[in-house]
Every structure is written in C-alpha cells, then in structure tokens.
Symmetry: C2
C-alpha cells in the first residue's frame, strides 16, 4: 500500500461512498469488513476504542474478527479516513477524520470527550519556539478529571 495523495484529512463526515472511493484511490479493496468498520465508526460518531468498534461492526458483519478491525483501522489511518489517539493506560482510540481533534479522557470514570482545539495552539507554538519540540496535539489524549468527577472530589 503506497501513498497516493493526501486525502482531505480533517473531515469528520465520511459518507460511505466517499470513503470507499478514497480506499480505491489508495489502491485498497473495498470489502465487507471494511464497509462494516466504516459504518460502525459513522454510527458511533465519536472517538472509540477497538472493543467498542469491533462489537458494533460485528452487528453489521457477524463474522468479523477483532484482528481484522485492528488491521482495518490501521488501513483507514494510512488512507487518511480515520486517525487514532493514544489514551493513557487504556486502549487506544479511533475516530473518523484527522488528527486535529483533541480528546480528553477522565482518569476517574473513563469518559472520553472531544474538546475544542484552540486552547492548545498556544502551547504548541510555545513549545516549538522554546524547545523545538513539535507537538502533535491530536495524537495523544489529554488526561485529568471530567467536570462531573472533579466536582465529586
């Protein structure tokens, strides 16, 4: 699988037809399991872990195997249809669209939230100028306590 051209990486909406087109343009085959994973991602509509995604995809294509979901997610990521986020301890997360989105995971209850990206821009710039480190903000999850859990403590 070789890169073809950068797909519109920051789209959140990937109508199945366009996603399939993107796969083909990348030289990939459009298979039942891949369609199922795409559809599952659309239905779930957010940032999810592999287990959740597998469960959902299996409703659509019963036989689909966990390993296939992992492989599919990697493929979709390469093609630029999806991206994955490393969340602290737990499993990593997947979502439709690119890496511009920011995710926050609650250490206490595990809740996954999409959060606005603007506030981190200053940090990105600051780190780039002071240390030369080029932060990829969408590639890792922010951790802490969600509003609800923070209130309880």
């Amino acid at each position: 699988m070789k890169p073809d051209q950068r797909s519109a990486f920051d789209r959140r909406s990937w109508p199945p037809e366009e996603a399939e087109e993107a796969l083909r343009a990348y030289g990939c085959r459009v298979t039942q399991p891949r369609i199922a994973v795409l559809q599952a991602l659309l239905e779930l509509g957010g940032t999810v872990d592999a287990a959740t995604l597998t469960e959902r995809a299996q409703r659509l294509v019963p036989g689909i195997h966990e390993a296939t979901v992992y492989r599919t997610v990697n493929t979709l990521t390469e093609v630029g249809i999806a991206s994955h986020v490393h969340a602290g301890h737990g499993p990593s997360l997947v979502r439709l669209g690119g890496e511009r989105q920011l995710v926050a995971v609650c250490d206490s209850c595990g809740k996954i939230e999409d959060v606005p990206t603007e506030p981190i821009e200053a940090l990105v710039e600051s780190m780039e100028t002071t240390t030369g480190f080029r932060l990829q903000p969408g590639h890792f999850a922010l951790e802490g306590m969600c509003a609800r859990c923070a209130q309880q403590s």
Copy 2:
C-alpha cells in the same frame, strides 16, 4: 497502607535517608529492593521506563524481580516519592518527584524530554473554565517530534 500526610510532593531530590523516612512514615518497610529502586531512580536521574529501571536496580540487588519493581514503583507513587506518566504507545514512565513535571516523548525516535510546565498552565485554566475538565498535566506525556526529528522531516 493508609495515607499519612502529603509528602513534599514536588521535590526532585530524594536523598535515600529521606525517602526511607518517608516510607516509614507511611507505614512501609524499608527493604533491599526498595532501596535499590530508589537508588536506581536517583542514578538514572530522569523519567524512565520500567525496563530501564529494573535493569539498573538489578545491578544493585541482583535478584530483584521485575514484578517487585512494578510494585515498588506503585508504592513510591502512593507515598509521594515518585510519580508515573502515561506515554502514548510505549510503556509508562516513572520518575522521582511529583506530577508537576511535564514530559514530551518523540514519536519518531522515542526520546523522552522534560519540558517546562508554565506553557501548559493556560491550557489547564482554559479547559477548566470552558469545559469543566480538570487537566492533570503531569500525568500524561505530550507527544510529537523532538527538535532533531522535526528538522529531518
């Protein structure tokens, strides 16, 4: 093991005697393996993964087992002598001192850098006021490309 009182959580320097004192104050025994892990952390002097730490500790106490290192790290964290950081894909990291320190991991070469904490404060406040999410900045690693790798690409 019950909390006694909050140890000076943000110290980086933990002379062995003081660390042992802190352990005792917490109701923990001061054992050879624990001394070895503490000493190894001191010698390594930064933010390290369990494998590195184990290897180093084994030089001091040859028989020391990996599982013991994990348990010791957890104990030291509870006591407030050490803290751990979740780094994206790889293993989690440990260091002497508290969670106020920020760590950046290069996705490309794996380099672990301590970075200044001030720039993230604005993000913490911004997230707290806009979404209620209380970020714990020292608890996860920032990811991206280190200066060297960023230059090469």
